[in-house]
């Protein structure tokens, strides 16, 4: 069930979009943990534990959280690279939660992914031309010239010279490789691109190039992004709306401005305050969280955050808060609200 009652998402530029492209309902993805006598499944890593959200056509939803919070798992589950344990994934009005085999492969042309590691995400034995043309070849029959033309076009779109066509991944720098990955994702003209930490492995100067490119392409190809990152400033730069995840749970979803201007969840507050700002004068009041993120295999009862929450109350360990809208377009899962 969708908890999002907002019928409209408002993009940063103020344009109003109505259609929901992706609707995630009560999604759960658990990894079994084997162990004990006879290697039975003794427990689950609750990587994604009951989250729901929507993405409207043409908007960018940022997903932010620390490592192990389940943001990448969410992305991969949506692409059905992982099997969801429970819940529904409705893409463009079609339930893709349980489709398999050829049907799933066919559905894949509409949603693509840009990966985190520019080194591991390109097959080292494939030439760039082959990497970028492969998605097209998987779905359509083209003759060689057409195909090459299309790939060259894509290369130029992402800012790579035509010579790149015959080269191999190892001949490029991280930023260029990431461009190749973007071109591969674009090849099928998908509706949704899930960008999973696309810039976290890059240097600052290159990071900005890639971020700019992604933004430009969005307008040009009418793309919808699910933008996953751990860097709040990057997410803020990219997204229309932002969801904050903690230990498999969505703790807060709000529009870009609303979230930064007035973070409601104590975790979001701490997260924002923890970011070192490139401004030595801005010595802000920092909320330093104590301890580490608990293991997702054995998450705390009640609110998953209560063990580190500076505002935790007794009931926090008992009641699991649900995401509720406290302001228009601003949802938070905390008993304080």
């Amino acid at each position: 069930m969708s908890t999002t009652e907002t019928k409209q998402a408002i993009r940063q530029d103020g344009k109003v979009v109505k259609d929901t492209l992706l609707d995630i309902r009560n999604l759960k993805t658990y990894y079994p943990v084997k162990g004990g006598f006879l290697k039975r499944t003794v427990g689950h890593v609750k990587a994604v534990d009951n989250i729901s959200f929507e993405i409207k056509k043409g908007e960018t939803l940022g997903l932010v959280g620390e490592s192990g919070c389940g943001k990448s798992t969410t992305g991969r589950t949506i692409l059905r690279l992982l099997k969801p344990t429970e819940g529904q994934i409705i893409f463009d009005g079609k339930d893709i939660t349980n489709i398999t085999g050829a049907e799933l492969r066919k559905a894949r042309r509409d949603f693509q992914m840009v990966f985190q590691d520019p080194y591991a995400s390109l097959n080292p034995t494939q030439s760039v031309g082959s990497i970028i043309s492969e998605p097209i070849r998987n779905f359509e029959k083209r003759n060689k010239e057409e195909l090459k033309e299309e790939v060259l076009e894509l290369l130029s779109r992402v800012g790579l010279p035509p010579e790149a066509y015959d080269k191999y991944g190892h001949e490029f720098s991280g930023g260029q490789r990431q461009r190749i990955g973007i071109a591969r994702a674009l090849a099928l003209k998908p509706k949704l691109i899930i960008a999973d930490e696309p810039v976290s492995a890059l240097d600052v100067s290159v990071q900005s190039q890639v971020l700019n490119l992604l933004k430009e392409l969005q307008g040009e190809f009418d793309l919808t992004y699910l933008f996953i990152a751990h860097d709040l400033s990057v997410v803020k730069h990219m997204s229309d709306r932002i969801g904050v995840m903690y230990l498999g749970n969505m703790v807060e979803i709000a529009s870009n401005e609303s979230l930064y201007a007035e973070p409601l969840h104590p975790y979001t507050q701490a997260l924002i305050s923890a970011i070192p700002e490139a401004d030595p004068k801005k010595k802000k009041e920092r909320i330093v969280l104590q301890g580490d993120v608990p293991s997702p295999q054995n998450p705390p009862t009640g609110c998953a955050f209560h063990t580190r929450c500076p505002m935790a109350k007794e009931e926090c360990s008992k009641v699991k808060p649900v995401l509720k809208e406290v302001k228009p377009g601003h949802q938070v899962a905390c008993i304080l609200y």
């Binding site: 949603f111 097959n123 080292p124 260029q176």
Partner: protein, 301 residues
């Protein structure tokens, strides 16, 4: 608009576009020891397979008048106790040893890769079942199996092929394990997820994306196997359960060394196969090392 020239620096090196294979090839060609070994092995192979054109001596004819002749004259390496030319038998023997080595390696790699990649890619129950089966094969009594197979197929199939079948059927376990673990590791790479997400079929993911990237491991394994299997053949020959004695192979030529007389007084009968076997294995090992180096993107040497 994207500025096409942005970040569009030419790739760092101004070389012809080199696929990883081309780079490996270049590195390999620069490795002297490996190249010498390759030439040696190639020479051995060519000479062995052209044996009928190189020497006109009959490999099976027993020449009672010419037994145990010392090297020299008509017989470069002398004759064995049956009066057969050692050199001729050495060439023909190389043929058998290499044929056994090559065909077993090919079969073992084929089967090991098949099982290993399927188990590694699919994981879960398929993996468990295949790996149990692999464990089983690895604990199989090899010697007994060879003898039994030889017996069952006696007269139906040539003894040589029985041996190849027996060795191949029981030796793929190690390769399967290695390929599986490599596939498991390689599977973690995001390009595999990428391949799935662009709609590649499982078979395409395995063949086009996983296998080329574990190929270096497989190639290195193949060289190790090649050496091991040649030794296995000769050891079986030495024990008297390998290639039938009517066909010379390096292993069964070496059986002669069990005779004290030959061992002590007629070294020309057993030393040539012993030395050529050792040198062949040595050169295969060097080639393997060379390949390992060449295929390892991190190696500098």
């Amino acid at each position: 608009m994207v500025n096409v020239t942005a970040d569009s620096n030419k790739p760092q090196e101004k070389t012809v576009n080199m696929s990883p294979w081309a780079i490996a090839r270049r590195k390999f060609f620069r490795n002297k020891l490996a190249m010498i070994s390759s030439f040696f092995l190639l020479a051995i192979m060519i000479v062995s397979f052209l044996a009928p054109y190189i020497t006109t001596q009959d490999i099976s004819r027993v020449n009672i008048g010419q037994m145990s002749l010392e090297p020299g004259g008509e017989h470069i390496l002398g004759t064995d106790k049956a009066g057969r030319d050692v050199f001729t038998r050495l060439l023909y023997g190389g043929r058998i040893s290499l044929v056994v080595g090559i065909s077993c390696t090919a079969l073992v790699i084929l089967f090991g890769t098949l099982v290993g990649s399927i188990a590694g890619y699919y994981g879960g129950n398929i993996d468990t079942m295949l790996m149990r089966f692999t464990d089983f094969v690895l604990t199989f009594p090899f010697l007994v199996f060879v003898i039994v197979l030889n017996t069952i197929l006696f007269g139906i199939v040539d003894g040589l092929w029985v041996l190849i079948a027996a060795i191949s059927l029981l030796s793929w376990g190690g390769v399967a394990r290695i390929v599986r673990s490599k596939i498991l590791a390689e599977k973690e790479n995001e390009y595999i997820l990428a391949a799935i997400s662009i709609g590649c079929k499982p078979s395409a993911v395995i063949i086009k994306h996983l296998l080329p990237n574990v190929l270096s491991t497989i190639i290195v394994q193949a060289t190790i196997l090649f050496a091991t299997l040649i030794v296995a053949e000769s050891a079986l020959g030495f024990l008297g359960i390998g290639v039938p004695q009517s066909i010379p192979s390096w292993g069964n030529m070496l059986t002669a060394s069990q005779e004290a007389d030959v061992l002590r007084n007629k070294p020309w009968i057993w030393m040539p196969p012993a030395i050529i076997l050792t040198v062949t294995i040595l050169s295969i090992n060097f080639i393997g090392e060379g390949l390992k180096d060449a295929l390892n993107p991190k190696s500098f040497r």
